[in-house]
């Protein structure tokens, strides 16, 4: 609350979320934190047997970063829908950047519903692309 409708306009960029270089330690924490114990994310021997050069990041970790960008922008309970397609694999050392753009705005009585296009990329290489629907309480315009 506190913001008025003027704070949200189609075409606005969501403040981007820039992550530090992805480490094995982060993947180990996410393995335990998420309950996704697939060894392809934590065990290089297993990853090599699966035909990869190294472990890969969890797609759902990248999606969690996208969700974090959205909740940082819209508030923790604002997210109604979050949909992504996984289009690339996250590698160790990747500096993931999440971005979003306000594509659509629907004005309700005490809230505004926004459709955001969202991505996570490493340079030009896209990892995920999708959209989020958020509902934000707003004060009536003066």
């Amino acid at each position: 609350m506190g913001k008025t409708l003027d704070a949200y306009a189609v075409g606005d960029q969501v403040p981007p979320l820039k992550l530090p270089a992805l480490t094995r330690h982060t993947l180990a924490l996410y393995c335990g934190g998420s309950g996704d114990h697939n060894p392809i994310h934590t065990d290089i021997d297993y990853a090599r047997k699966s035909g990869l050069e190294d472990v890969i990041g969890h797609g759902m970790l990248t999606m969690a970063y996208v969700a974090r960008m959205v909740t940082d922008f819209a508030g923790p309970a604002a997210v109604r829908n979050l949909n992504v397609r996984f289009v690339g694999m996250a590698k160790i050392g990747d500096e993931i950047v999440c971005k979003g753009r306000l594509e659509e705005r629907t004005i309700g009585e005490n809230e505004v519903t926004l459709t955001l296009s969202v991505t996570a990329s490493v340079g030009e290489r896209q990892l995920v692309a999708g959209e989020a629907l958020v509902a934000i309480g707003v004060e009536p315009a003066a």
Partner: protein
């Protein structure tokens, strides 16, 4: 090949208690620093029952609750070692908080193939109900099997 007659089949039910320690570790791993994700008092001051689960945590609960997915995948004809996550969708209806008991009703929503069967897709739709019998969230997971 996956068995398309399994579309509409229910997968084994899963249940999970939302544990504060699990949420804190998830938030540490994903860098969520908003205190509503970490601290009971902050979450309650913001109007939640207890520490709030971040948006994507509902799939973690499902994984923690269902245990080893291998038997269900095997029954559907999915080769686990060839699986990648293709798409994930969430519809969030109610906050999920530490202490909640979430039950999952999961069904095979779709099975389809592309490139003459080289890629097979399995869509699982998981409905999360909380301890009040309210529909908290739906998660739609699409995995691709590379044949």
């Amino acid at each position: 090949m996956m068995d398309k007659t399994k579309i509409g089949f229910m997968l084994p039910a899963a249940q999970a208690r939302v544990e504060a320690g699990q949420l804190k570790l998830f938030s540490k791993a994903t860098g969520q620093t908003d205190p509503v994700y970490l601290n009971s008092e902050a979450a309650q001051a913001a109007g939640y029952r207890d520490i709030l689960a971040p948006p994507t945590f509902v799939t973690c609960l499902y994984m923690l609750g269902r245990g080893d997915p291998a038997p269900a995948y095997k029954a559907l004809g999915v080769r686990m070692e060839r699986v990648l996550h293709a798409e994930q969708r969430f519809e969030l209806h109610e906050p999920i908080c530490a202490g909640d008991d979430i039950s999952f009703e999961t069904k095979v929503a779709d099975i389809f193939s592309k490139k003459d069967g080289a890629l097979e897709f399995l869509v699982q739709e998981s409905k999360a109900l909380n301890q009040f019998g309210r529909h908290a969230a739906t998660a739609l997971q699409t995995i691709v099997v590379r044949n």
